[in-house]
């Protein structure tokens, strides 16, 4: 790392918030896409927005690439360090500045943990809707960068739909605000919040965010249906949609995912080829009436067992197994890749059959967990990184799944983003001209390409790909998956 740059950093940060020693950098070498790791030149831990702004301006002046990082839960390698670049850890900007229950908004810093907003809003009968599976640790800044989703997107949308206003520092150091407190969101003029959210850290860093809160539903009705065939569970989803119901969530897990969830959180799931979770929410009289209809549909769909959550504890248990499914797969396999493609809902069955065929072709196990309501697949491809060529094989399989999603009229990513992982697949979805326009836009905002360099766009300088997928801390024996 350049001496001039380091000295300038040292003028902003005391030694305990400017990390440069190998042992200090280790936790930052990887994020939740553990197949990749890279050593940053330094990590800084700002405690206020002025430090973030100064740091970005310094990086811009000296053309040092940086990546903003929250809790490092990106599944697409979005917060993977840039080799010898700067990692800006934002976890200490973790204040919920204000909750205004009357207007149903909260103003937060980027390092606030997703679930903490709901916890703070709960006493007012409100909550923050986007619920990525990592919501108990992921930060709102990371959610914004990757437009995170969750299980309730069909009805409530993704992160972008819940951000009303923000203050940001752009990659060239310009500080600007857009949106506001009105639920109309964007003021007069183009929707800049909508553009910034999901820009994968390439435009800059969110410093302060105004989010919309939602009233907690009066009643949830959560049903778990077991099927002896994955396709039948998929058909049940189409039947629910055709009936005119709008569930808050519809999720499917296949046999392998069920097995993993059972081994991990002991959710008490039935032994089945597929499980469907459907959740209705809203005013009690309506939910009760809808629930009666839903049960008829589930019965018609050929479920061999149906369980209804009788109380909040049972509801929590049903969801715990689903939300813990990713990490649970870690028990079944030393390594795995999570894919995030989307297909039109009506083509889910077709996609699952094709994934089954690919499994056989590659001789790898694939566990399927997905947001069935919005066609968002999450195939988990299991492999053992200690075997030579295993990662390459898993990646090839993942690539075929992404191509499949695009061919079926969907998307290569529903909520994890392109990041490092899928950048070579961007051309599968966008034309050369479309990618060129996106690149020009990036250059107009970040002429030196310092913000999260190497992500989203194909090619470029790639950080080292490790051949084994353990997190660097795991490899060092500091953490384990138990």
């Amino acid at each position: 790392m350049n001496r001039e740059f380091f000295n300038a950093l040292a003028a902003i940060y005391p030694a305990d918030r400017l990390l440069t020693r190998d042992v200090e950098l280790l936790p930052y070498e990887s994020d939740a896409l553990t197949a990749f790791s890279a050593k940053p030149g330094a990590v800084v831990l700002p405690i206020n927005e002025a430090e973030v702004i100064d740091t970005v301006r310094l990086c811009h002046a000296l053309a040092v690439p940086f990546v903003a990082r929250g809790s490092g839960t990106s599944l697409s390698g979005g917060s993977l360090p840039i080799p010898d670049g700067l990692t800006i850890g934002l976890n200490r900007l973790n204040r919920i500045k204000r909750i205004d229950p009357q207007q149903r908004i909260a103003v937060v810093e980027p390092g606030v943990i997703n679930l903490h907003i709901s916890e703070a809003a709960g006493p007012y009968g409100l909550y923050y809707a986007p619920d990525p599976s990592s919501q108990s640790i992921c930060t709102i800044g990371g959610n914004i960068a990757f437009n995170s989703g969750g299980a309730h997107c069909l009805k409530h949308g993704m992160t972008s739909n819940h951000v009303l206003g923000m203050k940001v520092v752009l990659a060239d150091g310009a500080v600007t605000e857009f949106g506001g407190e009105s639920s109309d969101g964007i003021g007069i003029g183009p929707d800049l919040v909508g553009l910034f959210v999901g820009s994968e850290g390439l435009f800059g860093i969110a410093l302060e965010i105004t989010v919309r809160l939602m009233p907690l539903p009066e009643l949830y009705r959560t049903v778990l249906a077991a099927y002896d065939d994955l396709g039948r569970a998929g058909d049940a989803v189409s039947m629910v949609v055709a009936s005119g119901l709008l569930p808050g969530a519809m999720e499917i897990m296949d046999r392998l995912a069920i097995k993993a969830a059972e081994a991990s959180v002991k959710a008490g799931y039935p032994d089945a080829e597929a499980l469907l979770i459907v959740e209705l929410e809203g005013e009690a009289p309506q939910v009760e009436a809808e629930f009666a209809r839903l049960r008829e549909i589930i019965a018609e769909s050929g479920a061999f067992e149906t369980r209804v959550a009788q109380d909040e504890e049972e509801r929590t248990r049903i969801w715990k197994g689903r939300k813990g499914a990713f990490s649970a797969v870690g028990r079944l396999s030393p390594d795995y890749i999570v894919q995030d493609g989307v297909v039109p809902r009506s083509r889910l069955g077709e996609a699952l059959v094709a994934i089954g065929a690919l499994k056989a072709k590659y001789g790898l196990d694939v566990a399927n967990v997905f947001h069935a309501g919005d066609g968002n697949l999450h195939p988990l491809i299991l492999y053992d990184g200690r075997e030579a060529g295993a990662l390459a094989k898993a990646e090839a399989l993942a690539g075929e799944i992404l191509a499949l999603c695009v061919n079926l009229g969907g998307s290569i990513t529903g909520e994890h983003g392109i990041g490092m992982e899928k950048r070579d697949y961007l051309p599968a979805m966008f034309s050369e001209e479309e990618i060129d326009i996106m690149q020009r836009l990036r250059l107009a905002i970040d002429p030196k390409e310092i913000a999260n360099r190497g992500k989203m766009f194909p090619g470029g300088d790639a950080p080292a790909l490790s051949q084994h997928g353990m997190h660097p801390l795991e490899r060092a024996g500091v953490i384990s998956r138990e």
């Binding site: 003029g189 709008l246 034309s431 479309e434």
Partner: protein, 354 residues
């Protein structure tokens, strides 16, 4: 102004390339948006129309930008679905115009606005390039989300030719109730009560009427449960917000057209937050107004645009003129932004699109 009505995207591209300054227009239902483009060629998009793909089972619909909102709404209605962002001026506007101006009606309250339901678009930019932004499925996180950026962009960055939206099943029945309050603060307190309650309203508007403030509320549902929900809601509102008068109103289209009763030369939209309403309202004189979407959008009709402009400036608010003889459609606080400027540099570097 010369008007050209391209029939295809290729014709529109050629028109952009051949023009020095170009102004896009759908059906021209928001007249004030077209006042400032006197020296520009008008690209009338209304011939680029028609529903391209509608998959009720996917909750998605794709239509060309010049498609009349009414045509799109009718097709969705046949399948029991609707555009939850409730495009304004449904009888006159094109869907492209609705997106470009970001104008939603009162039903936006339930699920959100255009930004919450736009999934993707095809556009022609200021260099005549035709390309797609966003996606066509209900969930997509690939690439920069320029489709959302188009919402409210007034055709100044790129001209939309096709749009994809998420749609939802609509309720079969609606009932409308009105609650009256002597003071604005009481009516706002009632909105705050609703905001934190379990009641899921389809729409919530506030307007001055006969020297009182009238809160218009609407619930949507089915025959089986709606009566019980209405009863519970009325009970809770009466108990918690002490209205001076409660009435059930005929649930007709005119009741929920926020512009229906507004009389004045100029018609203006002002996004604001409910807590900004009292200070702003105190600056208004004779103006006719309705605070829609739970007090988050003000609709105003005025004969004195200069005073309104000043009032907006004092409150740090911006307004968009829909109708009336104004030079600039945006009044009040100018909304310039460095990020929007960067997008302009890329999509329309010659500053053709006005």
């Amino acid at each position: 102004m010369t008007a050209n009505a391209p029939n295809t995207v290729a014709e529109l591209q050629a028109l952009v390339r051949d023009s020095e300054r170009l102004h896009a227009r759908g059906n021209g239902s928001k007249t004030a948006l077209h006042g400032g483009a006197v020296d520009a060629v008008v690209a009338d998009i209304s011939a680029i129309r028609g529903i391209v793909d509608y998959q009720p089972g996917e909750f998605t619909v794709t239509a060309r930008a010049g498609t009349p909102v009414r045509e799109l709404a009718a097709a969705l209605n046949e399948q029991g679905q609707y555009l939850p962002f409730d495009p304004l001026l449904p009888e006159a506007a094109t869907i492209g115009g609705a997106v470009a101006s970001n104008l939603s009606g009162s039903r936006r309250y339930r699920y959100g606005g255009i930004r919450d339901f736009i999934l993707g678009a095809a556009v022609v930019d200021g260099l005549g390039r035709a390309f797609r932004v966003g996606g066509k499925v209900v969930k997509n996180a690939a690439g920069f989300d320029l489709s959302k950026f188009l919402v409210g962009s007034l055709g100044r960055y790129a001209i939309m030719t096709e749009l994809t939206f998420k749609v939802f099943p609509d309720a079969p029945r609606f009932r409308s109730l009105s609650f009256s309050y002597a003071r604005l603060e009481e009516a706002l307190a009632a909105i705050y009560f609703i905001n934190q309650s379990i009641f899921e309203l389809d729409a919530l508007d506030l307007l001055p009427k006969d020297k009182r403030w009238q809160l218009l509320t609407r619930l949507g549902g089915d025959d089986e449960t709606l009566p019980r929900r209405v009863e519970r809601f009325m009970e809770a509102m009466t108990r918690e917000t002490a209205p001076s008068h409660v009435a059930e109103l005929d649930d007709c289209a005119a009741l929920w057209d926020p512009l229906a009763a507004l009389q004045g030369d100029c018609l203006v939209k002002v996004p604001l937050s409910p807590k900004q309403v009292p200070a702003f309202d105190a600056l208004l004189t004779r103006d006719c107004r309705r605070y829609s979407v739970g007090g988050n959008i003000a609709w105003l009709a005025t004969d004195d645009i200069a005073s309104l402009d000043a009032a907006l400036e004092r409150c740090g608010l911006s307004g968009l003129c829909l109708r009336g003889a104004v030079e600039l459609a945006i009044i009040g606080n100018p909304n310039d932004n460095v990020l929007a400027d960067r997008v302009k540099q890329v999509l329309d570097p010659q500053n053709k699109l006005v």
